[in-house]
Every structure is written in structure tokens, then in C-alpha cells.
Amino acid sequence: MNMNDTLISEPLEPQEMSTPVNRPVEDAGAQSAKVEEGKTVGKPFADDPKFKLRNVEVFYGQERAIKNVSLDIGRNEVIAFIGPSGCGKSTFLRCLNRMNDSIDICRVKGQLMLDDEDIYHSKKDVVELRARVGMVFQKPNPFPKSIYDNVAYGPRIHGLANRKSELDDIVEDSLRKAGLWNEAKDRLHSIATGMSGGQQQRLCIARAIAVSPEVVLMDEPCSALDPIATAKVEELISELSESYTIIIVTHSMQQAARVSSRTAYFHLGHLVEVNETSKVFTSPEHELTESYITGRFG
């Protein structure tokens, strides 16, 4: 793979190229396992991908958090990013709608294409990108406004509804899709922060899909929820997968197994293995993946 061909931002500096690519894993159980930079085991590429990501590198100041990751994300697929804490899966996810922009020291290199448009092109508008690529965060973060205003906020700022009735329809539709309509229809104008954690997270999903994005990024959406609320959100993800591309970061391997069709395993900034979920969990090809899913570390 020729790295310099695909780089759109400034090319890598020589000393960065020469950083040791093979790092021993700290954990004793996987001490012998090595990962080679840029070499991803499994099937990282697809024919007609939604996202085409090549040689992606992310730096926090001098520290390289994502190391030469190349990956395709297919249309209307649910892909799960798994890996131990600090492996860079959230950082990678946040590159996909440029949420890292607000971090001053964060730099992204490589080629990140959404439907053949360069996400990080200097002329690319980040507002437009985020309208197409929605996001749900780890902690439910509804605005301290009414349930209705929360869902209606996105459509309002993007001017998606011309009339009040259209906006009402969008709100109802989004809440129905998020499975929250029956619980929320009688209290649309009460404050959103008064709901339970699970309801708040589903409201955040409703808020994200209200702007009709093509992709929904989910950063550990269930980590702050109890098992019942988690089950509801997972059910919701399965339903949403019919119409949206969903990328979910999760710490729960069971969750990845339940909701995703493909799974990507990250390790210390490297993308170690990508494959169909069933394959990753039943017959992982890489030693590190196996160690992780069998619970030897992480």
C-alpha cells in the first residue's frame, strides 16, 4: 500500500514514519502477539462503501492515537468498533463527523471519504457533514428544554420544516422510530431532563435521526444505562439499521455480537482485525483479537 498516494493533508514527516510500528502489548497474556502497522487482518474493504477511509492517522499533539488505519464502511450496515480502553476507537469514530475539530491539539491525516467527498477537505462544510452524519453520545445529553424542542432543534436549524405541522410530523416520526412516542406523547412539552436515563438516550437517538442523517455514530450509547434500557436501545439499533448506516463503539462484546453485522477490533491505535461479526467472535484470525474476545485482557 502506497501511503503517500492517498494522503490529502501534508505528507508524513520522516521521523514519524520511522516510529516503531511494532509495539509489544503490555499484557502478559498477549506478550508474544505483534501487530504490524497498516496491516489489518480480515476483510476491511467493501465494493461500494459509504465511508472509504484510507491511511487515517490522528495525532494529539505529538502522540499518535490512530496509526495508519484503512477501512470501508458499507451502506446500511451496522459496524461495531471494539477494543480495550484507550485503543482509539472513540477517537476514530469522532473523525467521521469531525467532532475532533474542537480539540485544538488534534490533527487528522489521511483520506476520509463519505460518498466520494473528502470529509476533511478545506472547503467541506462541517455543519453540512454533521447534518448527514448524526451522533449519539456516551452519556445521554438532552438539551435542558422540552422533549418536543429537543427533537425539533435539528430540523429547525437546518430549515427542514416549513410549517408547524411538518415539524410536528418530524417530531412524531422521530420519536416513533426511537420507540419513545408512547411514553412521550402526553408530555411533549415537559422538560427532557426529567426523564429516566434510558428514555433520555432514546430521545438523543430521536434527536439525531430527526434531521434524517445517512449515518448515525454511536459512542458507547448504552454504557450509562441499565440492562432493560440497554435492551430497548439495542432493539432500536436493529430497527434503525434498515434505513441508516450505524457505527457503534461499544465495550460490551455481547452487544457488538447482538447488533452489528461487522466488527472492527482496535488495539493501541491499530485496526487489528475487521470481519463479519460472527467470524470475529467464533474464529478470530489475529492472536490479539482472540485474546481480547476470550477475556484475557481488555
Binding site: M99, R130, K139, N141, F143, Y153
Partner: protein, 424 residues
């Protein structure tokens, strides 16, 4: 490792000491609060004790006979001649009818009981009602300020030194007859400053303070909030913004009189603005208040949880929309509190205003931003420096008015914060 049995023993032994420490710490706290409260109570008690009489006035009600002869008036039908008539004489005559023991030589003492401005009050009323000529009218006049303090502090030697013994007896007698009465001091709230304490009021200073505060608020709040938003949300982190930040923090610590010198040098000498006017006072206090507002507004913006920003960015809000729709409404209560506290500070500020000439003796109530004016704290300063006893109690009364303003501003800050917070 320590043996668990021994550990329990050690912990048990140390408990007593720990609790003693806690108790001592609590005692220090209670002591500090008690001292603070006691000082506050002493301060308030002293001010109220000295100043409450400032809210009372002493009046003399006389039956005045408008006799052309006693007023040395030759032609009572000529309005110009009426203006020139003697208006002191009818007052003295009226008094001497009530006090028959006063002889011809005591007329000067009688005159000393009535306010020096009573004669001009009588003249104005007579000019307004020409048909009063030749009749007897019951009119209420202000008493002389010496009578005022003597009357309000009965039995206190310190307050009677300005009156002779006879005069004191006269006052006692007049009070017994109901001629001298004490009532609520409306003059204090309806007039400007005066050389005569009995006629001096705080209205001019209150209006001056309101005008100055208005200019300060209109300028400092938008500028301060805009500066805070820019520095916190948009400014790049570099040497220039670091330099600005350090300087804002330094400005907050600059003595206020320096801002007065700056105002004198820049606004008055360089720009040629008039002295003693509320507009320039407002500009100077704006400079002084800005750092406070900027610092508190930045703190308020910083305390907005980042999750709300992320949520808004996540659905595609632009930077400006994030700030206007989410950050600003959430930061507003904190910004308002900081601004009102800054304004309250500015309301109590004297030093910078002295330098731009707002310390002048001004009788008229200011009507605009470019009329000569003074403010409440400067009025207190002027009266407190006056040797007359009657001014001292008015200074204390003016302090109470100033404190009432400050307390109501702080109450407003709390109310606004509560109200805005409830919306979310």
C-alpha cells in the same frame, strides 16, 4: 502489614483526636461568622441610630397676617412691589403673638427659629395668591435646622449648643402648643442638595446615580458579555489572547481612582467632554466594571457542560448557533449575577467620580445625561464632611438610602437568577 486487631485499636485511639480537631475547626468557623455578624449589626445599628432622624423634619405652623403696613408695602396691588416687601416681619410678629414673653430685643432669637428660606416661601405663596393680602393665613414652614436637631434630640446636650437658652425654652413652648411639629421628611426625597440642611435632599443624587448606572449598564453589559463570548468561544489560543487575558485580570485589581484619572485625561481633556456629567461618570464606571463582568461571564460560559455543546454540534449546529441557542441561555444567570454585582460595586464608587468633577455642589435635579449631577456616595461624602450637625444625620440617612439601593439590586440579581434557572 498491621494486624487487624491492632489496627482497630489504633483507629479507636486516633478517633478522639480527630473529632477534637473537627470540633475546633467548627468553633473557628462559628467564631468568624459571629464576629462578622456582630460587626455588621454594630455598623447597621450605628447608621440607623444616627440616621433615622434624617427621615424626620420639624415644621412651624403659623397664622400669618398679611398686613401691608407691617410688610412695608405701599401699594399692595402692584405685583412688583409685593415681591420687594418684607416677609420676615409678619413671621416674627406671628411668633411673638404666641410667645408674648419675647421682648423687642429677642426678635433676633425668634428669627433664628424659622428657616431662612421661610420668607421666600411666604413671598412665593403670596405672589401666587394676590387675594391673600389683608387676610390671615395658616401656613406651615420648615423650622431652622438648629431647631430641627434640638427638637429631634430632646435632652441631648450635644444637639442643643446652637440654640440659646431662651430659644430652647421657646421651642419647648411652641412644641407644647402644637406649633412645632415633627413629621416625615418628604423634603429629603423631593429636593436636591442645599446649603441649608433642613432643605437638603437626596433626589438629585438618586437621579444622578440612576443616570450614571443606566449609562454603565447599557455600555458595560453588552461589551462585557461580547468580550467574554469572543475570548471563551472564538479567540484562538495564542500569545495575544493570553496577553489580553492577563490584562483583563490585572484591570480588575486596579484601584478605582486610577480609572478616574484615566477618565479625566481621556474623556475630559482629550475628547473635551463636559465635567460633572452622568455620561462621563458612566463611561468611567464602565471601564471599572468591565473586568468584573468579563471575568464572571467567562466563568459562567466555562461552567456550561461540554456535553450540551457536543449535543448541539452533533446535530449540525454552527458555532454561532451553539453559542446563541445553548451556551448563552445556560450561562445567562451567572452573567447577570456577575453584572449586577459589578453594577452594585459601581453604584457605591466615589473616588473616580471625584476626579471627573461629580463632586460639585449641585442644587438642581439633573434632567439628562449631560446635566451637572452628583451621585449618592459622593453626596454622603459631601454631607459627612460638613460641620453642621443636621448634615451628619442626613449623611447617615443618605447611607441608608444607598444601602437600600444596593440591597434591592442584589435582591434583583437573586430573583433574576432563580427565574432564569427555573426556565431550564
Amino acid at each position: 502489614m498491621i494486624d487487624p486487631k491492632k489496627q482497630a485499636e489504633i483507629v479507636h485511639k486516633s478517633l478522639k483526636k480527630r473529632y477534637r480537631k473537627e470540633k475546633r475547626f467548627r468553633a473557628y468557623g462559628i467564631l468568624a461568622i459571629t464576629i462578622a455578624l456582630a460587626s455588621l449589626i454594630v455598623l447597621f445599628a450605628d447608621i440607623i441610630n444616627k440616621g433615622h432622624t434624617g427621615f424626620l423634619k420639624t415644621t412651624i405652623t403659623l397664622d400669618v397676617e398679611m398686613n401691608a403696613e407691617t410688610m412695608y408695602l405701599e401699594d399692595p396691588t402692584d405685583p412688583d412691589a409685593v415681591r420687594m416687601a418684607d416677609f420676615v416681619e409678619p413671621l416674627i410678629q406671628s411668633l411673638s403673638e404666641i410667645l408674648p414673653e419675647a421682648t423687642e430685643e429677642d426678635r433676633g432669637k425668634l428669627r433664628g427659629l424659622i428657616n431662612p428660606y421661610a420668607s421666600s416661601q411666604l413671598r412665593d405663596e403670596l405672589v401666587a395668591n394676590p387675594d391673600w393680602m389683608g387676610t390671615t393665613q395658616t401656613i406651615t414652614f420648615l423650622a431652622h435646622s438648629n431647631v430641627d436637631v434640638y427638637n429631634k434630640h430632646k435632652g441631648n446636650e450635644a444637639y442643643s449648643i446652637k440654640l440659646s437658652e431662651e430659644q430652647q425654652q421657646y421651642v419647648d413652648k411652641l412644641r407644647d402648643k402644637g406649633v412645632i411639629e415633627t413629621s416625615f421628611n418628604d423634603v429629603f426625597f423631593t429636593s436636591g442638595d442645599s446649603r441649608d440642611p433642613a432643605r437638603a435632599g437626596v433626589l438629585g443624587a438618586i437621579v444622578g446615580s440612576l443616570l450614571v448606572m443606566f449609562v454603565t449598564l447599557v455600555l458595560s453589559f453588552p461589551i462585557g458579555v461580547a468580550a467574554a463570548i469572543y475570548l471563551e468561544e472564538f479567540a484562538p489560543r495564542n500569545r495575544i489572547t493570553d496577553f489580553i487575558e492577563v490584562n483583563i485580570n490585572n484591570l480588575a485589581a486596579v484601584p478605582s481612582i486610577i480609572f478616574g484619572l484615566l477618565g479625566l485625561a481621556v474623556f475630559i481633556n482629550l475628547f473635551g467632554m463636559p465635567r460633572s456629567v452622568p455620561f462621563v461618570g458612566g463611561l468611567v464606571l464602565t471601564l471599572m466594571t468591565l473586568p468584573t463582568i468579563i471575568i464572571s461571564s467567562r466563568a459562567a460560559i466555562k461552567s456550561v457542560p461540554p456535553s450540551i455543546r457536543e449535543a448541539a454540534e452533533g446535530v449540525g449546529a454552527s458555532k454561532m448557533q451553539v453559542v446563541l441557542h445553548h451556551v448563552l441561555p445556560l450561562a445567562m444567570p451567572g452573567m447577570l449575577t456577575g453584572s449586577i454585582i459589578g453594577m452594585a460595586q459601581a453604584l457605591g464608587e466615589t473616588a473616580p467620580l471625584l476626579l471627573i468633577g461629580m463632586v460639585a455642589f449641585i442644587v438642581e435635579i439633573p434632567e439628562g445625561f449631560f446635566d451637572a449631577a452628583t451621585v449618592l456616595p459622593v453626596q454622603v461624602f459631601l454631607w459627612a464632611g460638613s460641620p453642621e450637625l443636621a448634615f451628619i444625620e442626613r449623611a447617615s440617612a443618605a447611607i441608608m438610602v444607598l444601602l437600600a439601593f444596593l440591597l434591592s439590586m442584589n435582591a434583583l440579581a437573586i430573583w433574576l437568577r432563580k427565574r432564569l434557572e427555573r426556565r431550564w
